[in-house]
Amino acid sequence: MAATVQSRPRKVSIRVDRPAARERRAVRRLLIGVSLAFLATFLFLPLAAIFAEALRGGTKAWIVGLADPAAWSAVKLTLLVASIAVPLNLVFGLAASWAIGKFDFIGRNLLLTLIDLPFAVSPVISGLVYVLLYGAHGWFGPWLQSENIQIIFAVPGIVLATIFVTFPFVAREVIPLMQEQGTEEEEAAITLGASGWQTFRRVTLPNVKWALLYGVILCNARAIGEFGAVSVVSGHIRGRTNTMPLHIEILYNEYNFAAAFAVSSVLALLALVTLAAKAAVERYSLRAPESAPADPILIASNLSEEPAL
């Protein structure tokens, strides 16, 4: 790809002045001021507070807070859960999108609706459902016990609950794109002799790779941060079944604010890394040659004559 970049027409930005869409300067400043104030109060300030609180006792206290074996175990468990749930949902999401986006079958709309179920249902209920199914007194409980398999109040339960809650992210990103792209490219590929797998790997997958990556990042963010569903199935066994969000809550309830904020800062840091990755994906996907607009003229939104700030 890189070799072809220089031969591409350069994107030209044109500022279009649309008088009808131009606001008076005072109105514009007011709107911008209000949004910035809102962002500062509700987003930036809390984020800054986490790091300020975490480092209030100095870096030494921060390190002590994290060095606690229970905290370290929570970090490891969180990463373990995410590293199982995200790849599985990548596969499930891709399979579901492929089925819904490229084929017409009975029950397609039902499947489309079911994919949204985890968004619609409260995470607490998602957790409770698993307790109902796999708990000691649940439907499969006695059998699981006789086989000596523990799901609830153990890592498998946490993984299951996380998979459930994060299921829609990949599918929701990829389905609309696959629907929009239709099946003509796949048909072209098979008339050229490509097998099903070749068609998928060389045509379908590359066409959705950015959406897929974007979905994975969102899925990962949610998998790391999930609280409600995980809280129900975890059992809160310190050092064993506590993920980071659960561990933070316990520390907070024990008035151990320094440690709570130390762990919080790590979680927030992971979130920031995720955001950076998401921004990078958005940037690269727009810059990728195949997704450049057909007409190499990007019309910038109306910022009118003078910069707003």
């Binding site: 591409r8 490219e185 590929a189 008339t191 002799g193 490509a194 066409n207 997704s291 607009p293």
Partner: protein, 352 residues
Amino acid sequence: MSIEVTGISKSFGSFRALDNVTLTVPSGELVALLGPSGSGKTTLLRIIAGLDRADPGSGAILFHDENVAKRDVRTRHVGFVFQHYALFRHMTVFQNVAFGLEVAPRKTRKSVADIRDRVRELLSLVQLEGYADRYPNQLSGGQRQRIALARALAVEPKVLLLDEPFGALDAKVRKELRAWLRRLHDEIHVTSVFVTHDQDEALEVSDQVVVMNEGRIEQVGTPESIFHHPATEFVMRFLGDVNQFHGRVESGRVHLGDVALPGLSVPEGAVDTARIFVRPHDIELDTRRNGQPVVEATVRRVYSAGPVSRVELVMPTGQEMAVTVPHERVEALHLDTGSAVFVKLRRARVFA
């Protein structure tokens, strides 16, 4: 390689897209499937390609006397060109054209160098040598369709199928590209079928035209025979502007108004009435009677902006008629709104 379709039917639910269609495409010919949308032409093309399946139990599709109806689309060796190009958007022009060669099974796959040479050759065939490193969205519509054609030809298909190949292009590019397709076909001679709803395109490009309507074939023939000897009313209407009059059948002759039209035989099944069809350019106008049986009419308007003049007439019965005549004729006869003219139908067709 010839294509033979025998007794193919296809239903979508209760809609019958193809109704017992039988068709032969001789080897090396370029054949147009012409018809309005919903006539089944694209469905027929996709069934020939193997992208869709005919109804179970309906007929056969033979490529050079071999039934391929059960064969997978991959093994039919057809080249398919889509209306919206269907180029692989994340691949360069080179990668697009090379795709069919690269996915071939290892046994039959060409070497990297051979693939490169073949792609070069094809790009020069479609006159886009310098575009190998471009992406599809950096090409114009006409260029994209030429790349799609090169990609389809790369695997040396036995049959080339084109689904409205110029349908997404603007009028000027369309005209250029169809003349180019005709020249290309004269060069490579691969048996080709293309679908179009544009009668000019079908008549200009193809060796044979297959006119389709409501899942059936109305007529098959050379462009000349289709245009000059339409077999059905539908073909007559579909292939260009046409005037329709209600005629009477009296004592074995077809009458328009009071005038018995010469040289027209009464169609089978016409008892009292018959419909008369005349193309605007098959009508002669005069301001004198000239002794022949003619129809009288009054000029309503003359449109002279164009290659020929278009004259709108009204007959005493109130029926309207459109006529095209050379500008010189309009001037010589001093035709203007309100002029009285005598109309002679040079070539008319009558259907029951």
